[in-house]
Symmetry: C2
Amino acid sequence: MSELNPIHILLVDDHFIVRSGLVASLELEDDLRIVAEAECGEEVASLYQTHNPDLVLMDLQLPGINGIETTASLSREFTAAKVLMFSTFARDDEINAALEAGALGYLQKSAERDELVTAIRAVATGNIYLADDLAERLRDLRSGPNITTREREILALIARGKANKEIAEALGIAEDTVKRHASNVFQKFGVNDRAGATSEAIRRGIVKIEP
Amino acid sequence: MSELNPIHILLVDDHFIVRSGLVASLELEDDLRIVAEAECGEEVASLYQTHNPDLVLMDLQLPGINGIETTASLSREFTAAKVLMFSTFARDDEINAALEAGALGYLQKSAERDELVTAIRAVATGNIYLADDLAERLRDLRSGPNITTREREILALIARGKANKEIAEALGIAEDTVKRHASNVFQKFGVNDRAGATSEAIRRGIVKIEP
DNA sequence: CACGGACTCCCCCAAAAGAGGGGGGCAGAG
DNA sequence: CTCTGCCCCCCTCTTTTGGGGGAGTCCGTG
């Protein structure tokens, strides 16, 4: 809280624009000090060790190992690490994954400066920070239907246009079983065909889409 | 190029972090001057009129009217407006839409500072700026399969899990016609079922996904 | 005007999908 | 130990899908 004991921050973001924006904004607060910057997840561990920051402000979208994985491995290595995740989006599954990986807070990049500073101070002192609306959505997610790992696998293949028979062969199970899983997913999603399930899966971030 | 004739920039971005980052970075260049900032598309027109900037640096993702629509209406009103679109992603369809809306350049936020400055100078003097890889992808897109409006409509309904019969009723056409359109789309996409088509459509940005 | 593209509809048909109904095994939690 | 959730398999059934053929209109461009 005072200049005598500033919050040391390790910044992790691959966009220089964002880094310079954060540096410019945060250095206006005399209790915040950015002591190191990383451009990718790979650099984080060693920078953490040398600078021992009070808080890691981490972008979720990072090239290579992403913010979630970085957070997870950082938390494993340094259990005291306090991570505030910082993302362009507020996707339910990402928030969930970030918190499970050990992040203490999740903030959208659209957040105002005040909120950012509040979140930093909260997380640096070991509190959990989540904006109201995010907290609400997270509750919905946790109470919502949970898709099993097997169902995820089938879903991923369905979204890639695979037929039940192909999926069965790929997974080494009977086609009937694939249909069974698919039906269960449809029910959980409240849809009634694979196209609808595909949309849902992509929307919920269960299935990633890439070229 | 000189301090006597700096490039006046209107910045449009809803994220204060990005704005302050850009201000911090660009003011290091003495031929660049940010003369105004807008947080949303609605503010752009009047700010443009009062400041008459040489360049508008516009974020594509804006709340309310997005960067593309804003660019389109700005270009209509002020034909001399030079817009450099600035986006987190490099989605083919967005690049295409941005250029069609009248933007002279498209830059990813992951761009380095050098590239940003280069792009700004290029666009401010009326040139078109597109990174190599983006230009290449754009060519692919233009030469690639073009989906007709009717096909888009059908695609959107397919992605929402509608059956052919439902789509036919919704559009007031025969189910056979829906199937015909669907088949054509499958062929154009190189997929063989509606789930695959849904993925493709979402990936290409033809179908939007929202809660 | 002729041509191509978009849109429309018709027919047929094999294959797949989706919704039921069974049942069994195996883990972890209570 | 029982119960629950996940995973697996088999069956039947109806509906949907997707591919093939052919064929008409309308519209804009060359």
